[in-house]
Symmetry: C2
Subunit: 460 residues, 2 copies
């Protein structure tokens, strides 16, 4: 597991209005005592995901507008407020059936400054909110986050379309014929929206889009293009399934995963993570399970016979796979912490140590003497320093170490896989030594590479 | 060696005028073909120090005003420009004897925007320039860096005094009777200074202070208080000696040095560094010398008899002492690089490894079996992970790990000193094991401490 930048962005004080009053006819939950907002995706309800995404973006004051089956939803919200230590105000909208504009309007007494509007049934990348909040709100206007990748929008027919011109929105509606973007349901508004909605209501129009149309007429409606960031409106059973797949596919860490991680470990670990997501198991517990699995592997190596060695090898690979699950669960369930990432990294090094000792010991049983131990120590130090090198680089250069082929070869997923393979052919010690030698070559290579790349040679 | 933040501050484009035209009567150099600006302090000339300090603050365009013995100084400047890859313009001031105002004025054709003025014979902390440049220059005015710690000014009698009122300078002069600060000789100016100097010249006043006095009259002269930052005007033989002591005393890294570093290693390493500073030896070479000394220590341990063990222990301590010199030289001579700090840190871990293997081997000679090796591996891993823990913490939390008593106990200076002591009493293995056990306790303690301090327990 490895998460960078889980530090919440600087606290933004704006309130967040979440619209959760509607019935959601197209996606009925199977349980009677549950609203659409409570449908769970990997252990978290849709509204919980909306709230936690906003929290991750640094927002902390929530107003949830309820209507349909409000008692049931309110009791769910009370639970969430307790679990996540959140400030959630509840606003009832008895007129919810008229349109979602009435739900926004229902909050007008509670809101003084600028605020965000979110939909309870939309998934979105928290960085959309962070970026949106950096835009300057037009005076007496609003900004809508829009998606210009129309081809990739899941259910375009049902989406609210938007025509954007040089960063200003000039038309909005479900049935626009000409449009170049889609409304993501994420708004950043001044309180002007309430006057705009009153104006729309006076013409018996009650949707939020009707209010927005009034702001467009005043030329005060800006657009923020989210680029390739993820969002999804969950309206149907089909989109719910798509959401699950989309969240899973985001778990691959394309920039960091080694070859084995990507093609062997992730496909398995993601399945395990999905299963685990339905239970209240924290990522740190999974870190400990991976650690214990690694220690067990080390003990199995000690026995020395092929049966145990093979079993040990399998446990090594299993530990490597489970090592991916803690990060996956953390990302799936908004449970990532710097502590978790730090703790996991250190325990990984202890597992490397235990496995090396186990393999060294079993080899020493048949090859007594000092050399097996020295080889074992050097290999182990190579493993640890390969990783150490990168951390120290980050601390000195304030950036991640550049990628290089040789460093890709000695990533942990590959190291452990080589040991697993070594166990299969009953040569775990030689697998250990080989990968150890490559590690030291990689370290030496890194010195040369960085020395010349950073052009320090001129100053030496 | 350990240097954080040697990355130059964001490039500031302002030019830097360095006044080096004067004779410096009170501090005559002993060599005939040398000006005052060329007097060396720890291998670098005074003007070289001024230039490199400004470079470290992110400044890169220099104008040096020459006058007295100009040919000699110019040839020195050409050398500097080559060695440090710098852009140095030379301006001759034939009127230099009239006063240093004429030297500033001599640059007026070369300067369009705002610029800095420095004295060639002043040492100063580069962060003074960084901070000064963050101040808003008053329109048609200037800012002078001032020192309010009057009691600590080295040669107060000769200093230019200043009276500051709420951040504005209201009087300046060598003979002020009432004053509350001292002129550090570091200015940040708009080109207005040239008109002010012309005005002063018309009244036959030719010092920079006379020009500044005109800006004061227009109420456009601001002050920037440098606080406790270091600066020193080198005017006499006495102040030169004081400068050398002051630079040395800055080499202690009070925030980072462990107990042994501070009271045993630094006093010795500083003397070695002073000697080395006169030779063209780069910090990276010293890193390698410390590394080789450590490897030699490891080989000495292998022999196993008391004489060699004692010698090995001495080499361990010597390696630890030399390990301080690379950073000291780097700071004394502006040679610090992130590469150097990174390289040094990794080589230190290899030395730790070699010493542990050496000690483990010698113990195994008299205590054959597997346990000596397992103990040795665990101790070594404890050493490396103690350090690894901190790097990974920095990467996850974007801040240095908080200090704690137990982590102070297992710093490298102390670890190596314990091994040195162990060698003296001929028990290096037990010294290794003891400090290894404490290392692992320290790591476990760190987990608990950070877990509860960061309050992640609520989320687990």
């Amino acid at each position: 597991m490895s998460i960078i930048g889980t530090k919440a962005a600087a606290e933004i004080n704006n309130k967040v209005v979440i619209l959760a009053a509607g019935e959601g006819k197209r996606l009925r939950t199977k349980k009677k005592n549950e609203t659409k907002a409570q449908i769970k995706v990997y252990g978290l309800s849709l509204i919980q995901r909306a709230i936690l995404s906003a929290k991750k973006a640094g927002l902390s004051n929530f107003i949830v507008v309820v209507g349909y089956k409000k008692e049931i939803l309110v009791s769910h919200l009370k639970k969430l407020s307790k679990i996540h230590d959140l400030n959630i105000e509840i606003v009832e909208n008895p007129q919810w059936e008229k349109g979602n504009g009435t739900s926004v309007y229902a909050c007008h007494d509670l809101i003084k400054g600028n605020f965000f509007i979110l939909m309870c049934d939309h998934l979105f990348d928290p960085s959309i909110l962070t970026e949106l909040s950096k835009n300057n709100l037009p005076e007496n206007g609003a900004i809508l986050a829009i998606d210009k990748n129309i081809d990739k929008v899941f259910d375009l027919g049902d989406a609210t379309k938007v025509q954007d011109q040089d960063g200003s929105i000039i038309r909005i509606g479900k049935n626009l014929k000409s449009f170049n973007a889609v409304d993501t349901g994420i708004f950043f508004c001044t309180p002007t929206i309430f006057a705009a909605l009153e104006n729309a209501f006076s013409e018996r129009k009650h949707s939020l889009s009707d209010g927005i149309a009034r702001i467009i007429n005043l030329d005060k409606m800006k657009a923020y293009d989210i680029g390739n960031k993820f969002w999804l409106d969950i309206d149907t059973e089909k989109s719910l399934k798509y959401a699950k797949r989309a969240l899973l596919s985001q778990l691959n860490k394309i920039s960091e995963d080694g070859f084995i991680s990507r093609f062997v470990n992730r496909p398995i670990s993601k399945r395990i993570s999905v299963m685990l997501s339905y239970f209240p198991i924290s990522p740190n517990i999974i870190t400990i399970i991976s650690f214990v699995t690694g220690l067990m592997a080390a003990f199995m190596f000690i026995k020395g016979n092929y049966f145990f060695t093979l079993f040990a090898g399998l446990l090594v690979q299993l530990s490597s796979i489970i090592d991916g699950c803690d990060g996956e669960i953390a990302r799936l369930k908004f449970q990532g912490t710097p502590f978790g990432a730090w703790f996991d990294t250190i325990l990984d090094r202890y597992v490397d140590t235990a496995i090396s000792i186990g393999i060294g010991y079993s080899f020493w049983l048949t090859h007594p003497g000092v050399l097996p131990w020295i080889g074992c120590i050097l290999a182990l130090v190579g493993f640890i320093l390969t990783s150490y090198l990168k951390k120290e680089y980050f601390r000195r250069y304030f950036e991640e170490m550049p990628k290089s082929f040789i460093r890709t070869l000695i990533k942990r997923d590959i190291r452990l896989f080589v040991i697993f393979m070594g166990a299969i052919i009953n040569k775990p010690y030689w697998a250990l030594i080989s990968i150890g030698i490559i590690s030291h070559i990689g370290i030496g290579w890194s010195f040369l590479e960085i020395y010349f790349r950073k052009n320090h040679s001129r100053r030496m």
